[in-house]
Symmetry: C2
Subunit: 179 residues, 2 copies
DNA sequence: GTCTATAAGATGATAGAC
DNA sequence: GTCTATCATCTTATAGAC
């Protein structure tokens, strides 16, 4: 595996647990048995690292979604795939969404990173708008905005409370929009 | 106004915009025209400051809620007050909920602070559980968990996207549970 | 590509004068 | 209560050897 990818892997895991500002080049280097100076060869600045990280995160999410929807699934089945994609890492590794973390720290982040976070949210809103639209729901974009918000918030509250039922109850509310 | 309160005021405004880890004793002191050493007289450690901050935030929220519900309002009217309490600071000052920010940074915070954040979420879930219960809704606690999650997430996504409609669309979804 | 060495600045925190 | 002065440590980042 290319070193740049292992750097992003470590950065992602740490930032999803502790936030952008608590993760340093040293933290990441230590976790990989490297020196912090070496990381600057792959990502000249922390901003570069952050931008690359969110971009990869969004691409991976989209790729996983595209791989799981087989052509013309029913809207509810497609929504359940979208929900499951959010649920996974939270249940298995207690990791919340990278963009929920970065979105909460927005005021301290370089605008280039905020732009990528926004693109992730808008991309997900677009995915869900299409699903709700296919189901013939009125105002599909508003349903999509509410769904993205609910699921992002659910990861944070479920994480703090140590209660996966918080996530599942929220997912149920999101699903009612297609029932 | 007591100095301790003005310190908390500045800390709250800054942390709700930039996160816990990007706000320092120096930042707060500068904003107040003081020296960082002086802050340690009022809050010996940053953990003490954080705990006091979340505790005051939860108390203020609860007091504002109690002041606005007049005795026996209808469930939907009461829910709208709860929603409006979340909407205010976001619309007027672009400040998201303190506990949404701290919840996102959970893995880097002292456990004493995480405990206060959890108490805030549980307190709000209890408030909403009572509202949904009064309305005769089945599984009122699950509706409450979903509502808290949705509103916390809505503040983050609305903030990043610069789109208050994200919040309002989410609030609408929360309200459907009483329609 | 990775290292050592280093820079300039920020951080939470303390001691002690006023 | 607030200050000056100071501390040990951490931060992002660079220069240059290997």
């Amino acid at each position: 595996m290319p070193t740049a990818q292992t750097i992003l892997d470590s950065a992602e895991a740490q930032m999803r647990a502790r936030g952008y500002n608590d993760v340093s080049y040293r933290n990441i280097a230590d976790a990989l048995g490297m020196k912090s100076a070496s990381l600057h060869y792959h990502f000249a600045s922390k901003t570069d690292l952050g931008v690359a990280l969110v971009r990869r995160y969004a691409e991976n999410f989209r790729a996983a979604y595209d791989a799981q929807i087989q052509g013309n699934s029913a809207p509810l089945a497609t929504l359940d795939i979208f929900i499951a994609l959010h649920r996974q890492a939270l249940a298995e590794q207690e990791l919340i969404c990278l963009c929920a973390v970065l979105g909460a720290e927005r005021g301290s982040l370089p605008e280039a990173i905020n732009d990528e976070v926004r693109a992730f949210f808008i991309g997900n809103i677009n995915i869900l708008t299409q699903i709700f639209n296919n189901a013939g729901r009125p105002k599909p974009e508003r349903a999509a905005k509410a769904s993205v918000s609910a699921l992002e918030g659910a990861m944070i509250v479920a994480g703090v409370n140590g209660d996966m039922d918080v996530f599942d109850a929220t997912a149920e509310l999101v699903r009612t929009q297609l029932l």
